[in-house]
Amino acid sequence: MDCDQFREYVSGAVDNCLKKEELESLLEHAGRCPVCRYEYEMEKITKSVVHSRVKTVSAPVALTYLITEQLRVDILPARAPRIRRLFERPYFRPALVFGAAFVGMIIILSFSDQATSPPSIPSLASNDVISQSVTNYRAVVEGIIKPQLVSNDPEMVKGIFASIKDFQVLVPKMKECKLVGGVMNEFSGVQLAHVLYTHEADVVYMYQTCWETVMAGDKLDLPRPAKQELQRTGWYSEELPDGHSIVLWKKGRTLCSAVARMSKTNLLACLSDAELPTDTGW
C-alpha cells in the first residue's frame, strides 16, 4: 500500500470498516511511514472528539405535537377535492353566504329572549380541569387571583410548593415569557399549583395537579375526548373563544395545563423551550 491508497482507506480503519487484509496492509504501511501513521492517529482523535463532545438530543416534545396538529390542519383541506370542486362552481359562494346569513338570523331570533352567557368559559362541570384552568386564568387577568410570591427565580417559586407531595411542581422556562410567581391552593382536598408568566402584555397561566387524581375522575376530571387524547399521546390542546387557547400535558405524575391569549400553535411554541416530558408514547 502506498500513501495515496493509505489516505483512501484510513477512514475505514478508524471506523472498523475494513476487511482484515486491507487493515493489515494499512497498518503495515503506517508502521513504515510516520506521516501516514500521524494522519491515522489524528483521524482517530478527531472522531473521538466529535463522538464524545457532540451528543444526540431528544427532539422537543412540543415539536412532535406541533407537527401532528399541522398535519391534521394543513393537509385536510388539500385532501377534500370534492369540496373544493363544489366551491369552484359559479354562484356557490354567494349562495353559501346567503344561506349562512339566513340560518344565523333564525338562530338569533330563536334565542334572542334567552340570557346568553359569554362563550368565553366552557359550560363544564366545576371539577373539570379545563374549566378550572380557564376560570382561574380569567381570575388572574382580573386581579382576583394574585401570586403568593412574586419572583422571576424558578427556584424561589418552586419553594412555595415544597409541601406538595403528590406530584412534582414544574416551573419551566418558557420561550419569550417572563416568570412572575406562583400560588398554591386546594380543591376538594386536592392540592393545586398555579404558576404565572407574562408574554408581552398578556398573562400565561399554568395549572398543575396530580395526574392520577384527574384520571380517577372523582375529585377532579376532564372531558372524555381530552382524557383519551392525554392518555394516548400525553398531550391535548384546544382553541378557546376570544383568541385564547389551552394546552394540557402529562409529565411524570403531574398534569399541567397552560392557558393564554394566543393560538395553540403559538402557545405550543412558547412551551417548546420548556423541559417537557418525553412520555408521549412515540
Binding site: R7, E8, Y9, V10, S11, G12, D15, C17, Y38, E41, M42, E43, K44, I45, T46, K47, S48, V49, V50, H51, R53, V54, T56, V57, S58, A59, P60, L63, T64, L66, I67, T68, Q70, L71, R72, D74, I75, L76, A78, R79, S272, W282
Partner: protein, 188 residues
C-alpha cells in the same frame, strides 16, 4: 375509520419515531434549535404530502433524510457562502504546528482538543462544507455504517470514505483554529 385518518395514523406510526434522528441532523446542520425545528416541521409536512410515493418496506429513515437534506439545500444553501473547497494551506499549517508542539498524539488530544468547549466542536462541525458535514454527522455522531451513509446520501462507498477523511481533516484545522483563539496553542 376514514381513509384519511388511516393514512394519518399510518404516517404517524411509521415516520414520527424517526423524529429524534431528523431533529439531530437538522440541529447539527443549522447549529440553531429554532431553525432545526423549522426544518423538521417542513420535512414532515413534505413527507406527508408525498407519503403515497414512499415504497412500503424500504428504508423510511433514508427516505425522510433525503427529504430533509433537499429542504436544507433549498432553504439554506442560498444563504451560505458555499465553501466547498478545502483550504489545504490551512491544513498544511496545522500539521507543521502540530509537529512543533508535540510528537505525541495523546498530548495533542489533551492540550489542544481536551480544553475546547462542546460549543466549539459543534461550531466547527457547523462550519464544514455541507457534503463533509453530512458524512461526519452521520458517521461520528449518529453512528451509521458506511453502507447506510451511502444509501442515505446516495453516493458510492468510496466517496463516503474519502469525504469522511477530508471532512475530519478539515474539522481538525477548524478545531485548531478554535484552540488558537482560546490560547491552547500559540499563535504564529
Amino acid at each position: 375509520m376514514t381513509l384519511l385518518k388511516q393514512k394519518q395514523r399510518e404516517f404517524e406510526r411509521e415516520a414520527l419515531p424517526h423524529m429524534d434522528f431528523l431533529y439531530n441532523y437538522a440541529l447539527r446542520m443549522t447549529n440553531n434549535p429554532a431553525d432545526a425545528e423549522d426544518l423538521a416541521q417542513e420535512t414532515y409536512l413534505k413527507a406527508y404530502r408525498f407519503w403515497d410515493q414512499y415504497e412500503k418496506g424500504t428504508n423510511i429513515r433514508a427516505w425522510l433524510f433525503r427529504i430533509m437534506k433537499n429542504s436544507y439545500i433549498n432553504r439554506y444553501r442560498k444563504e451560505s457562502k458555499e465553501p466547498d473547497t478545502v483550504d489545504y494551506d490551512e491544513v498544511k499549517e496545522f500539521y507543521n504546528i502540530i509537529r512543533e508542539e508535540s510528537a505525541d498524539a495523546n498530548d495533542l488530544q489533551e492540550t489542544v482538543f481536551g480544553n475546547l468547549l462542546d460549543d466549539d466542536v459543534a461550531g466547527a462541525i457547523a462550519g464544514l462544507p455541507e457534503d463533509f458535514r453530512t458524512v461526519v454527522i452521520l458517521c461520528d455522531i449518529e453512528g451509521l455504517t458506511y453502507e447506510e451513509i451511502a444509501e442515505f446520501v446516495d453516493i458510492p462507498l468510496g466517496t463516503v470514505r474519502s469525504r469522511l477523511h477530508r471532512g475530519r481533516k478539515l474539522l481538525r484545522s477548524k478545531l485548531l483554529h478554535y484552540a488558537k483563539k482560546r490560547g491552547y496553542v500559540a499563535e504564529e
